[in-house]
Assembly symmetry: C2
Homo-oligomer: 424 residues x 2
């Protein structure tokens, strides 16, 4: 059952939050020892919240709906470990803004989902529910796995590079990274403050739209309007096309064909040559910032930082201010270019990840997330079939800066086209 369906049933008096939360907890009890999606969960604490919801009138569409919270987002009543042994058992003094807002809206904070180390790439314990030998992706590993495995209908994640899009694609669910800044970040453990974006993992576009709208106040059609005229779509292979394996390449072209058949105007969007540097620009910009953001940890707890993160932090320390400002300038130029491109397109489609989920030794490559995050654009990955190994693939849909409402409307249309095609 999707969050939106559950919400309608709760509002109609046909479902209690307690029953819904119990169903999630049962699934977790069955599967958690294998999937390892949760950094912290206490069934009784979750049920207590659910019963409190059931005792009052619904406050919003989120009322009674359980939400998993990535463990880099503070909760006052649950430990928050930031994916690092340094903060094992840490109890924040207050909820992050988004957590507090979910409670205010009547949502149930189900538990904390596993994050990689400070939301970077170093893997944590979570496994891909579709095949336990493979990574769920990262850094929002637990959020993606929990939603994919029906442990929760909704979860919050965060993205600095590709940390919502990649795990969602690997786990076969929807991942939504809003326009930079849409969901308030007070109480988030910062990695790179000019990129870090709180996002949403869900099983349907409508569910992500519901949570995003409740948190930020953006308008969404309820239910999201799918009767609009088919969109003008830019098929964007990106400068990193060669990094995608043939299944991913075929899948994107197949999706483009299906959307065209359904009425969309498809044309290729070729990015200018400067865009081939955008992944490097993102890496320089974020590294400069996380060298600073993690000053306390790197100076006082260096021994508890992974080797791979230690190396990335050291690289960040070598990015000069001039290098950082050059990265900012290149970003601004690219943002202007892409804003003009969106005069010709309602939506861009692009790969979500270079391949299916690799094994547990990494969380996969962020290749297809870096640029869109740097450009601050709203984007979403939708599941679209499987690759050669039988694991999920995703297609990424990207809209203009600030056009999150339009993104949802268009993504619902894409979701429907893919679902009809998948059903054939």
């Amino acid at each position: 059952m999707s969050a939106s369906e559950a919400s309608a049933a709760i509002h109609a008096g046909q479902l209690t939050s307690e029953a819904l939360v119990s169903a999630c907890l049962e699934r977790i009890a069955q599967r958690e020892s294998e999937v390892r999606a949760w950094a912290w969960i206490d069934p009784e604490h979750a049920l207590m919240q659910a019963r409190a919801c059931d005792s009052e009138q619904p406050r919003s569409r989120l009322h009674g709906i359980p939400v998993g919270i990535k463990d880099v987002i503070d909760t006052f009543d649950m430990p928050t470990g930031y994916g690092s042994p340094i903060y094992d058992g840490h109890r924040p003094v207050a909820d992050a803004a988004c957590v507090s807002q979910i409670r205010e809206l009547g949502g149930v904070i189900l538990g904390k989902t596993v994050s990689t180390e400070f939301a970077t790439r170093h893997p944590n314990k979570t496994r891909n529910p579709h095949r336990l030998s493979q990574t769920p992706g990262g850094s929002s590993s637990g959020s993606a796995a929990a939603v994919a495995d029906f442990m929760a209908p909704l979860a919050l994640g965060t993205q600095t590079s590709s940390s919502v899009i990649r795990p969602a694609a690997y786990c076969g669910v929807c991942g939504y990274k809003p326009t930079f800044g849409l969901i308030n970040r007070a109480g988030l453990k910062f990695l790179s403050e000019s990129l870090d974006t709180i996002g949403i993992l869900s099983r349907t576009v409508e569910d992500a739209a519901m949570l995003a709208s409740e948190l930020s106040g953006i308008a969404v059609s309820t239910p999201v309007d799918s009767r609009q005229k088919p969109p003008r779509i830019g098929l964007c292979r990106t400068p990193f096309w060669a990094h995608a394996d043939s299944a991913v390449q075929d899948s994107l072209l197949t999706v483009a064909g299906l959307l065209e058949k359904a009425g969309a105007q498809i044309s290729e969007l070729n990015l200018p040559s400067e865009f081939s540097r955008m992944n490097e620009v993102q890496i320089a910009l974020s590294a400069y910032e996380f060298y600073r953001a993690l000053s306390h940890e790197r100076t006082r707890h260096a021994g508890q930082i992974s080797v791979s993160l230690t190396r990335r932090i050291a690289a960040g320390g070598k990015v000069t201010r001039a290098g950082y400002e050059a990265a900012q300038a290149a970003t601004r130029d690219a943002q202007h270019w892409i804003a003009r491109a969106f005069e010709r397109f309602d939506l861009i489609i692009a790969p979500s990840a270079p391949a299916e989920a690799p094994d547990m030794s990494s969380t996969g490559e962020p290749t297809f997330g870096l640029m869109w995050t740097l450009l601050q654009l709203p984007c979403m990955t939708l599941p679209c079939g499987v690759g050669a190994a039988g694991l999920p693939l995703g297609v990424q849909v990207v809209a203009a800066h600030g056009a999150d409402t339009a993104l949802f409307d268009r993504a619902v249309w894409v979701e429907r086209v893919l679902s009809v095609a998948g059903g054939k």
Copy 2:
């Protein structure tokens, strides 16, 4: 002794950090019962840090220099109360990035300076060292008062509206609000994430430049170059000129005259009519954000929030997403306009505050800070004489986005012209 002078003496082996910190502590012991600049200070803890500095080679120009930290910025070894009774005695788990960086550079974290409630306008206990019946301004009340009263050569503050510029002007010191984002904000208690900016209180331009450069890596001349050719200056009365009293108006015009006499090209910069809305735009944008950022406090600790802040939070809850996005759009337009204006000017001069410091019932009006903060421009207030009541006045100098290095160079020149004029 300025921080730069102390730094030179420490590097030359003519001064120990222990002696410098002891002098600050003596001044604090004499004056703190009247000025009330400190939320937390432990002399022995400060001296211990100073002795550790003295036992090693200087790590940077900040080595051994004591810095006061506004109490909305996390410190792992000192309580951090965010200016609110809700967080009385709260101990953060980690240092904010900027605090950790100062320690890494060899600086001494002297103690926590008083902030107003969550860095908003509601007054706290600090008094203006120039006249104890008057406010030091806010929200960086303790930082401004401590630096003005020679309790510390440097202190960190934060600005969302006018929280560095206003208290610095009222207390007769330099206040520097960098280009948005220059000093990393990880570990800052957020109020309005798209405006909150960490800034510096100091007694000289050079001192602020030294700390800013060490934290961010921006280039500054060492010592800052004052032999450059005199700047092209835009005299900007701003749309809020009528809010300035006659002493402030006269003072700005007098400064313009002095700078012109010293060789600057002065011309009036008249802002287009849309700029008269900029203060309202700042208020809408920040209110939308702090309604969200303070979700935990307003939902769980409403009884411990002041009446005036409760009213502002409620107003923030009424700002719609559409209103917020309109404020963002108006801001972008104004940023583009001002960027073009800076093709004609090296520097803008404008009032820092509408009048001298009022009494302790408020922290004064943020009128002349809101717009520049919204535009994300680097700005600095420099002391320039006294008003009718004999209390300090300031002049605000503003540079183009990202031109912090140029701001320092120009501000040193202005500081010198004013100092020569003041000496006559």
